[in-house]
Amino acid sequence: MIEVTARYFAAFRERAGLDTERVRTQARTAADLYGELAKRHGFADSMTRCKVAINDELADWNVALTAGDEVLFFPPVAGG
């Protein structure tokens, strides 16, 4: 069990009703954590269309999480 900080942006933030939360989790990867949090907050977007950043750097979904990480969840982007 590790504790990380999850941060939500745009549609995720509005859906979750919060922008940051501390999460105690058994998730080993960012992908596992997304699965857990998507279920909790009702995020409907497939992970393949979303992005994750860890400690302010874009990261792969399969990267292993470390205690204290700040994990940023980005819904599908729509610039332009």
Partner: protein, 157 residues
Amino acid sequence: MSFKITTAVIDPDARKRELTQSAAGACVTFEGWVRNHNDADMDVRGRATQGAVADGEAVQALEYEAHQAIAEKEGARIVAEAMTRFAVTVVHCEHRVGKLQIGDCAVWVGVSAAHRGAAFDACRYVIDETKARVPIWKKEHYASGATGWVNCATRTT
């Protein structure tokens, strides 16, 4: 070369002057404007509009949000890639965030090059990659009062 996220009004004429190079024989710029209707067919990737929002619904304003630090880092990578892939002299991109009105310039790309082919290709590359990769989100405010995040399955109204 540069990639900038800004809350200020984009001034295409001023930005274009930054492209000037004596070696440049071509200049291609792109401006993305806020349009007045929701139009899923115009986007490469589909968007899931749920509830009462239908394609063609009148859009009154757009709100852009970005993670500025990561957006500028990823944007800088895209601009650097364009410099490497195409024979261009200068590449700049600027994307506005905050609340925009119909007709406002949301994104600007400017490229100068010795020849037109590379300038067209690099400009297209930068806008396409920016739309696909940079953490920027767009919320449409409809005439009905509803709002919708473009391209997302999750939405609140």
